[in-house]
């Protein structure tokens, strides 16, 4: 069984496309589409890596990541943040609160796979 990734994203067609390419790459993929209970889903699923969108219904990706970094169990969990905003301030904020990587939409499938392989060597 491959490494386990949790995709937290609210755009269904992005979820489907990412799930497909990650599955074909050997990952075990779980998905979740709202921010409200995302932290508890991460704790329950214990993935090897999280792909986290910034703009989510219920709670922002920044808030979710902040909570994850405050918890010893998820303090070092690799998190790839996805955002439609590419301003340097957003990138700095993501790094400041502990994002492992930051990727701006639109991105290519190859970029996502490359980032994941760097964060979680197979």
């Amino acid at each position: 069984m491959g490494k386990h990734v949790l995709v937290i994203e609210d755009e269904p067609n992005i979820i489907e496309a990412i799930s497909f390419i990650l599955s074909r790459d050997g990952w075990t993929v779980d998905t979740h589409s709202n921010g409200h209970d995302a932290v508890s889903v991460v704790r329950a699923k214990s993935p090897d890596l999280v792909i986290l969108d910034v703009m989510l219904p219920g709670k922002s990706g920044y808030d979710i990541l902040t909570e994850l970094r405050q918890d010893a169990a998820t303090q070092n969990l690799p998190v790839l943040m996805l955002t439609a905003r590419g301003q340097s301030k957003d990138r700095e904020l993501a790094e400041k609160i502990g994002a492992s990587r930051f990727m701006t939409k639109p991105f290519s499938n190859a970029e996502v796979l490359e980032a994941l392989h760097e964060l979680v060597p197979q």
């Binding site: 755009e11 067609n13 992005i14 496309a17 074909r24 439609a84 301030k89 991105f107 996502v112």
Partner: protein, 436 residues
Amino acid sequence: MPQRQLTGSRIRERRLRQGIRQAELARKAGISASYLNLIEHNRRRIGGKLLLSLADVLDVEPSALTEGAEAAIIATLGEARAADKVVAAQTEAPEEFAGRYPGWAELLVRRHRRVLELERTVETLTDRLTHDPHLAAAMHDVLSTVTAIRSTAGILAETPELEPEWRDRFHRNINEDAKRLAESSQALVTYLDEDSGEETGLASPQDELEAFLTDAEYHFADLETAGADKVDTILESAEMLQSAAGRSFARQYLERYCDDAERMPLVDTIAALRSLGTDPAVLARHFGVSVARAMRRMAELPPTDGVPQMGLVSCDASGTLIFRKSAEGFALPRFGAACPKWPLFLALSRPLLPVRRVVQQDMHGRSAFLAYAIAEPVTEPDFGQDPLFQAHMLLVSLGPTDWKPEEVRGLGVGCRICPRTDCAGRREPSILTDGF
């Protein structure tokens, strides 16, 4: 060097500008060239008859030689110098520069003011781009859809052995996303096209009302005399009121305007302002109206001699701004929350108690405002219902000598575009500084 000691520099500058030799000017003024040389280098004080003679020969008013550049030009030069880290430490007085080179000084002052105007424009546009919820949502929608299309198209192009059911599914997704992208792009373009006359559904009725009031400069001369009979005529000709809700808001505003004008007639209000001053509580007592109504009426007045420029901001009990009339030098956030240090919010936290503060947004200390704020109930007293309050803040522009630095409260527009650091009210980082 004090201004009065620069008379010689101004005489020299005028003489050179007119191409007159020193000896020639000295002869025409009845003095020796060597004495004029001492005067021009500010080594001899000059006044009386000799000043009049030199001014006569140079064909200028004597005051142009003794007073030189106006105080405002010198003050602005001082501000320009203070704002630049490189030259701020220089010791040359701006008076000396303005006295020796009045033309260059004026040019520098005009450029400095233009820079300030442009900075304000950038702040306003940045505020819009970062806080406009419609724009942010529309951009997010477009970029998310593009991402889905790119990722799905990548799968279709790069996976030759793709199963037919997956291929059909991804084709369907791309088709859906392409349609969605077309719609969201069109909505975005329409929203950004200010000339569009169509009701887009993206501009709020509040936006329409603000555009309508801004266009009228918040004053309706027809309503001052004709009253409510003219409301329909005004609404019919208001092209920016596109939605039914926008027109309804405008009607409510105009009907209240008529009521204000009836209780505080224009001529009487202006006369009262001139004789009693700008304290809205004093005017409220004078006309027997609420302080909120007096504030609103003061902000409805046309530009009038002897009456300072006034802005008005109102918020509901949640702190959301529901009315904005800006005053030059005091910016209001287009979107997003305002600075929590505004007296408006202090008033909201202590209803019915008037608040008066001298406030300043400008960190360079150029303009200050007297802010009067009060929160009043908008509902009738009812023992069965909790009262609902709205707060209002009238901003009266102060002259350069009307305030003392020690009484000024510094505040901002909103956290996102506020460069102030170490602020207890900060709730989010500024795009201008690190903020926290």
